[in-house]
């Protein structure tokens, strides 16, 4: 198709036409390009308010989760320490069982046992004497705290009435036993109930044994309470020290206990929040 002369004229002349832009145009272009880059790089940052809101939500959720995890840890820890205590209790209980064994079993070598039942001191002596002999038997039928716990719910209600009576009595004795069996100074309430059984033992061995199993749950409850108190004290006290070493130490301890290590603590120290929350709960 032949081009129209006017089209040709304009096309020829204007195709190579140049109009020099002002110098500012380049600067403007540079600026626009920088803005474009910033917009691209800071794309997410420009959503500031939304991001902040999302951050706050995340923080709340994370805080709640850690708080919940920690509170569940408290009971977990309580159970854990309870089992260690139960071992300690076992030590105390062991003699009783031995006595029972001796009483029930025809293996009892000495006639004094029956007479000794009335006198606690003699029982203790007997127990000490007998322990080496009865040790193998005990091993065959070990006294583990868990079976006791399992029997708890049934007997607990029936013996609840007996407990209050026992409670006040042994306060004097407790410190001594605690010193021997436990490393925790605060176990006292739990230990007390354990000790309670000793005087009863003197009176009726079978009844005492039954009660031992009964008292166990109560011990557990008391211990969980005391342990949670302990833990709260820990939480309350440690942030006050608020040295980095203390924090790190706590995390180490958590790791050692096989609990979740709270890394957030290094960042914004949720322990202070936690301490406030638990402190309020406590009140």
């Amino acid at each position: 198709m032949k081009k129209h002369p006017i089209d040709k004229l304009f096309a020829q002349k204007l195709k190579e036409a140049e109009i020099k832009p002002r110098d500012e145009a380049w600067d403007k272009l540079q600026l626009r390009m920088q803005q474009n880059k910033k917009r691209r790089i800071g794309g997410w940052w420009q959503q500031g308010p939304w991001l902040a809101a999302a951050g706050v939500c995340l923080l709340l959720v994370a805080g709640w989760l850690t708080w919940r995890a920690n509170s569940s840890n408290e009971t977990h820890l309580a159970q854990h320490t309870h089992s260690t205590k139960a071992k300690a209790i076992e030590k105390q209980v062991a003699p009783k069982d031995e006595i029972k064994m001796e009483v029930d079993a025809p293996l009892a070598e000495q006639d004094q046992v029956a007479a000794a039942l009335n006198k606690s001191e003699s029982i203790k002596q007997m127990v000490r004497k007998n322990t080496p002999n009865t040790a193998p038997e005990l091993k065959s039928a070990p006294v583990s705290p868990q079976p006791m716990v399992a029997t708890l719910p049934d007997v607990q209600k029936a013996d609840n009435q007996a407990k209050p009576e026992n409670a006040p009595e042994p306060i004097v004795e407790s410190p001594r036993i605690i010193a021997q069996t436990s490393t925790h100074p605060e176990i006292t309430p739990g230990a007390k109930t354990v000790v309670l059984q000793l005087p009863e033992l003197k009176e009726t061995l079978v009844a005492a044994n039954a009660k031992e199993t009964i008292v166990e749950p109560r011990i557990k409850l008391d211990e969980t309470k005391s342990m949670s108190d302990e833990l709260e004290d820990d939480i309350l006290n440690k942030p006050r020290k608020s040295t980095r070493m203390a924090k790190v130490w706590k995390q180490l301890k958590n790791a050692k206990n096989g609990e979740r290590v709270d890394w957030d603590e290094v960042g914004f120290n949720p322990n202070k929040m936690l301490a406030k929350a638990t402190g309020k709960e406590r009140n």
């Binding site: 304009f10 204007l14 140049e18 109009i19 832009p21």
Partner: protein
Amino acid sequence: MVKILQLFTSEAQLVKSLQKGDAKAQRHLYEKYSGRLLAVCVRYINDKMEAEDVLIEGFMKIFDRIDQFKGEGSFEGWMRRLMTNEALMYLRTKRHIEVDLDAPEAQHLPNYEWADATLEVDDLMAVIAKLPTGYRTVFNLYAIEGYSHAEIAEQLGITESTSKSQLHRARALLQDMIKEIEDLNQTAEAVKSLKGK
């Protein structure tokens, strides 16, 4: 400048550097083509300042979409198309491209015996600037950019016949105006020669 020019001896090299986002290459491209591309913008948008804004936007697009240039056809042609589209978009958003259907036909028969050698680029630019926007746009696209009527119709959202009639009227008007300019030039030369005598 010489150093920069030496760096980008071939267009392919320049394009490659641009695709990497090389600032020097961008500067080089701007130095080399901004004049020509601004002329394109001014042909569509009479106001030079507005045209410069469009030029800047067009360059942004060129730098942004440099990856889309696959080396088919000339690089300058690709840039011109981008710039043309940018100008059209500007016209579409900022002003309406009025399709002046009722503009008067050129009264006289076309006379192609003008001495086009005397016409300068500036004259032609000035003449085009005097055209109504609709005429100017269609004429620019058809005569200079080389679009078909179908393409123009699609670009501007008009029918092909409208595009054709716009082009005819644009040509006629341009012819008139060129005649005027030539007449003026002739009289000016005559005056000059008279004064010289």
